[in-house]
Amino acid sequence: MSKLGSHISAIQSGFKHLYKRRMTLRYPESKLEILSGYRYPLAGYKGRHVLSMEKCTGCSICELTCRNIARAIKMVRVEGASPRNKKSIFPQIDYGYCVFCGFCVDACVFSALTMTPEYELAAYDKQQLIYEPKMLAASPPASGSARFVVTKSAAYHKKPKRTPEINQA
């Protein structure tokens, strides 16, 4: 009789899962909300860099820091008057080399370099991975808004109605 009971409970568990919420994240359509606070309370993220052309003075400390790690940063000239940056040189980052250690962000005295939650950096070409200062200055696209929720009975991705703007430090 206990055998029959175990069969019934097996079938029952099958039926029980029919109406459970899926925890699958339908990736290209909805993206995960990226939570900050891994290493940087200020910036909070470890994705692509964003460069503030107003704050950058062209001191090259980020390049010096990167030289011992990934050699991803190279200072390049950008035409146009910039009052703080007399030499008018700005970091250019090659994401083919970058290891996202964030030391350049640590080293930046003027908080000109910060990191964003943008992680979809795949490209068809090596050249496309080299981000020039102008490209780095562009603000990243809005991050995903699906939030992972764990309840007593199920775990699922909850999608808030309003997509919040990402905070840039």
């Binding site: 097996a10 079938i11 099958g14 109406y19 899926r22």
Partner: protein
């Protein structure tokens, strides 16, 4: 019906409603439904992108894909039998449909010995499988084919014996009169044993989980279907699903009162609704159970289901003699 001449309306019935066209459409739906249901049981999402609603056109996409794939015939295979076997299988499955009415007005052929013929056709299917297995000239095919032979022949006996109880109670081999004799009580209430035996034997006959020993992919690749590719494989799958549909309708009509139901819903729809329920019940084990071993399967068939179906016959004999 419909004011058409007799042969034309017969042809319509064979090709469109209770017959082939409806069955194949239903089979397409069943494939989607099974994938979706199993996905739900296993906390997945299942087909999603083909079609507007939850990937409902996925089976059609798969079918088109199979149509475009190359049909590969192994060098050592018996080419004629190899190509013949899927057609043979499809013919066997479809011929069951002719004898299963969906409602009193949707009948292709009502015979006095309908159930006997259906059982006879069902017991021919191991032959088709063995032909396919042998013609493939592949060790996995052959092993799978012999497993299928063991399984289908040993489960055909409890299957037919469990039907016998119903036949004794209704006093007829014709499905029409069997359904009509369930007006007072469905046979699942009168002989639950027979219903359980029929259900399990049908699962085994269809080679569905937990009885999918012939096509156990962890052991014998894909069993007797190993060498089939392209549309040949598609035909084999369709034949299996048509058989699945036919046996589900048969279960509905033998034990669940067929088209009997409250009035506003048309009788054919009642059959389909009940069939849908039976199909769901037959699919759920696939998401829940592991595969039986071959000796467990045989032991279940010969030492549990066979005595149970005999007990069921005795009970129904006693009941019939008391009623008489």
């Amino acid at each position: 019906m419909l004011g058409l001449t007799e042969p034309l309306s017969n042809l319509l019935q064979i090709l469109v409603f209770p017959g082939l066209g409806f069955a194949l459409t239903f089979v397409l739906f069943m494939v989607w439904y099974e994938r979706k249901l199993l996905a739900k049981v296993q906390v997945r999402v299942g087909p999603l992108y083909a079609g507007r609603f939850e990937g409902i056109l996925q089976p059609i996409a798969d079918f088109v894909k199979l149509l475009f794939k190359e049909i590969i015939v192994p060098k050592q295979a018996d080419r004629f039998l190899f190509m013949l076997a899927p057609t043979f299988m499809m013919a066997l499955s479809v011929s069951i449909l002719a004898l299963i009415p969906l409602s009193p007005s949707n009948v292709i052929a009502d015979s006095n010995v309908a159930i006997l013929v259906i059982i006879a056709v069902l017991s021919l299917s191991p032959l088709a499988i063995v032909v396919a297995a042998w013609a493939s000239n592949n060790k996995y095919s052959l092993i799978g084919g012999l497993r299928a032979l063991h399984q289908t022949t040993s489960y055909a006996i409890p299957l037919s014996l469990s039907v016998l109880g119903v036949v004794l109670m209704s006093g007829s081999f014709s499905l029409m009169s069997i359904v009509e004799s369930q007006r007072n009580a469905w046979f699942i209430m009168l002989q639950p044993l027979g219903a359980i035996v029929f259900f399990l034997a049908a699962l085994a006959e269809l080679e569905r989980v937990p009885f999918d020993i012939p096509e156990a992919e962890t052991e014998v690749v894909m069993g007797w279907e190993t060498e089939y590719s392209g549309i040949n494989y598609g035909i084999i799958m369709t034949a299996a699903y048509v058989k699945f549909y036919a046996l589900a309708v048969l279960f509905t009509e033998l034990f669940l009162g067929g088209w009997l139901g409250p009035e506003p819903v048309p009788p054919a729809l009642w059959t389909i609704i009940k069939t849908f329920f039976v199909i769901t019940l037959m699919m759920i084990p696939r998401g829940v159970y592991p595969r039986l071993r071959i000796d467990q399967m045989l032991r279940l068939g010969w030492t549990r289901l066979l005595p149970l179906s005999l007990v069921n016959i005795i009970i129904s004999l006693v009941a019939v003699s008391f009623m008489a």
